[in-house]
């Protein structure tokens, strides 16, 4: 147990990728570092546990990356997915720094591998962690501890003593004890608030009760709330979160990657009234991946059913739960507790609206419906080959966008517009600066590593000056 009578140079709240990058870089810059992780040891690392890759710019192919991904291309991608909801200076800074991150992260003991099966589309842009996010965390913790970083698990921070933008101390509770932790600088890397259902309800109302949280149950936003209440400027749309369609049978929290379903294109999606409500053939992954969570959140009871037939059963990545199956649409509807007549009518109407084409799920093909509302504009095939299958789906919340505004030193900006003297933030808690909307695979980890490293280094320098 660390000696709490001393004053640490740098206190880091949080225990994921951003927190550990900050801890390692602060320690390497000569600071004494304490990490307070709110989760128990197994669950350490927030949503980093569930990640698998990071997106870094690089000018040439590498051992594990199939081709170059220039800063300009990265910037174009970011502009597109955020629809301009980004701070260009910070975004360009992130992208420029991301080039160094591949080797820097590697030097901290993290290993990479070629892209995973089923993710070949990311083979050029994203670097995959050997063994996934928890393996990455294990390597970072090993390095941090070898450097002398002190880590306390199950340590919930209940209060921050902040005076006019200057961090003085934090109150942490662990093992039934309340401890005052003093430090010269604070790095807040404690994630977003997506696991705080009450907070989500402020924007979503009762619908949030039907949301499933894909990641850690520990991201309750308590640190974010305290910082905003102490006059830190907020950034990002507080009402928005990243949501995808996941299996409705998934656990309420922490189901992770294995509950995702990406078979919307192969069938139709019905709501609880057995009606279609959106064009299932609109676009490719990842765009469709990111919109369907939101679409289902807008349906009654936040539930929907992806219905497909035997032709498509093996056409997509297997998922955790088996599909619900029946020999006819009516019986399938019965099992899903949908009105069989309406389900049958919806599928019949869809089938008769499909015009013949040549199916190719790798392009925007010419299989579509005619005279149907909403249409299915690509990959439309009649559902006519029994048995029939369905996956029930709900919105799966990945992360929230609301965060603390920072500058390129990762220093928090106060409501007055003045940078804080000694408070920094990194990771999901400030990702909204760069990613104000949308998502691109692996970008959360890039923001976390880049700003974690900067925050740690700058915090250490601040304390020493």
């Amino acid at each position: 147990m660390p000696d709490f009578t001393r004053r640490f140079d740098v206190l880091i709240i949080g225990g994921g990728n951003a927190a550990l990058c900050a801890a390692i870089s602060a320690r390497r810059a000569g600071a004494s570092v304490l990490v307070l992780e709110g989760a128990p040891k197994f669950y350490r690392g927030g949503n980093t546990r569930h990640t698998r890759n990071m997106r870094c710019a690089h000018d040439t192919a590498t051992q594990h990356l199939t081709g170059p991904y220039t800063e300009d291309e990265f910037w174009d991608d970011l502009k597109r997915v955020t629809q301009g909801h980004t701070d260009e200076e910070l975004a360009r800074f992130t992208i420029a720094q991301s080039k160094e991150m591949l080797s820097w992260i590697g030097e901290q003991g993290v290993r990479f591998q070629p892209p995973l099966g089923g993710t070949l589309s990311l083979g050029r842009t994203n670097s995959f962690f050997l063994g996934g996010g928890r393996a990455m965390l294990n390597a970072l913790y090993l390095t941090a501890e070898a450097l002398g970083v002190e880590v306390v698990y199950d340590a919930e921070v209940t209060d921050l003593d902040i005076d006019d933008g200057v961090f003085l101390s934090a109150t942490a509770v662990f093992g039934g004890q309340s401890v005052n932790v003093r430090a010269g600088a604070l790095v807040a890397a404690a994630g977003g608030f997506e696991a705080n259902i009450e907070w989500l309800k402020q924007y979503w109302g009762a619908a949030a009760d039907n949301f499933l949280i894909r990641g850690t149950p520990y991201n309750r936003g308590t640190i974010l709330r305290m910082l905003l209440d102490h006059g830190v400027q907020e950034v990002g749309d507080p009402t928005q979160c990243h949501a995808v369609a996941i299996d409705a049978r998934s656990p309420r929290f922490d189901g992770g990657i294995i509950t995702r379903l990406d078979c919307v294109v192969f069938g139709v999606v019905l709501n609880k009234h057995a009606e279609r409500f959106y064009d299932e053939g609109e676009d490719f992954w990842p765009k469709r991946y990111a919109i369907w969570g939101r679409l289902i959140a807008g349906q009654p009871d936040q539930i929907a059913y992806i219905v497909f037939d035997a032709k498509s059963l093996n056409a997509f990545m297997p998922s955790l739960y088996p599909p619900i199956t029946a020999p006819t649409i009516r019986e399938l509807a019965d099992r899903l507790e949908l009105d069989p007549d309406r389900a049958d009518a919806t599928i019949a109407a869809f089938n008769s609206a499909v015009v013949p084409g040549s199916f190719d799920h790798t392009i925007l093909d010419n299989c579509r419906t005619e005279g149907l509302t909403p249409p299915k504009t690509h990959w439309a095939l009649p559902l006519d080959t029994p048995p029939y299958y369905a996956y029930p789906v709900r919105p799966g919340i990945t992360f929230t966008y609301l965060g603390t505004r920072v500058n390129r030193d990762a220093r928090m900006i106060m409501n007055s517009g003045k940078p804080s003297a000694n408070m920094f933030s990194a990771g999901e808690i400030m990702a909204g600066n760069v990613l104000g909307r949308g998502y691109a695979a692996g970008i959360g980890m890039t923001i976390g590593s880049v700003f974690g490293r900067v925050a740690g280094r700058t915090a250490a320098m601040t304390v020493r000056n």
Binding site: R111, L142, P251
Partner: protein, 373 residues
Amino acid sequence: MLDLTSAAYPSPLPAGGNLAEAERLMTICNACRYCEGLCAVFPAMELRRAFTPGDLNYLANLCHSCGACYYDCQFATPHEFAVNVPQTLAAVRADSYAAYTWPRFFSGAFRRNGLTISLAAALSVAGFMMAFMALNDPAVMFGTHVGQGAFYKIMPHGAMVAIFGAAFLYSLLALAMGFRLFWKDVSPSAHAVSLWEAVKDASQLRYLDGGGVGCMNENDKPRDRRRLYHHLTFYGFWLCFASTTVATIYAYGFGWHAPYRITDFPVVLGTVGGIGLVIGPIGLLLAKRQRDPAMVEASQTGMDTGFIVMLLLTSITGLLLLVLRATPAMGTLLALHLGFVFGFFVTMPYSKFVHGIYRFGALVKYAAERKAS
């Protein structure tokens, strides 16, 4: 309202039986795939969508128990998905050894394997001791013998060849029959094999390194040395085997009979191999004791320990025999050494020894699958 948490749907929580649990885990892992860079098991899994018992036995025997996937898994216990691939595949593997046993009525030998092996060793040693005592004059048994043919003053060469030849041939037959059952189970349809790739993978223990980071045994730190200890054991074993083979050629081809001089080829091979076969098994035993209890498949502990101790006793008695062969202790040590070697030979098809055979078979299949995909 549809109850989405009820038992109306197959649950991903543990069901009965090791194969059922392995099937549950492979379904989870196949939807995740984060571990596919760690070893051969996960890429082999990805070639399938559903898992027959044969598939699961194949994957279980492909697993080298390096432990990396347990510490890398975000769904390991205490997560409600309770994923523990090393432990579950170890249990399936142990079951598969019993299932492939030839002849069938010996399959119970795997149930309390530590006891089986201990009994076989004790009986074998006692048999040699009693036979030597009964058939030799005490003056011969406890006398000092030097020079060519010294060992055969205790036990005639012909008898030694007959007894060990018969035991060895029987074991080879039983192992071959077991392998046949294994291969029929994991490869119901014929396909090309890729021996050379598998020989390389097995001889390097390519998949006992956590994908390059190293193995994990005690905790999440990749500081395990089982690969080194296994190499010492494995190559030590083959050097000892080579020593015996060379000695046989010397005896039948050239009429040169044991004991050989210290600098002779069979003694050099046997000594170097024997030292490996002492250090390796001790290292493996210690690693076994230090293993994270979360990954230990308790039903396998007796089998593992029995086999490792058997190798260790064989090598220790062999080295002692070398050191003390010109003393009155030679007769007793010879009985001990031959007893352990005989016990080892006859229990080969009924001990952890089979892991090498089936794992090699699994590597052969994997190499072919990798080539085909």
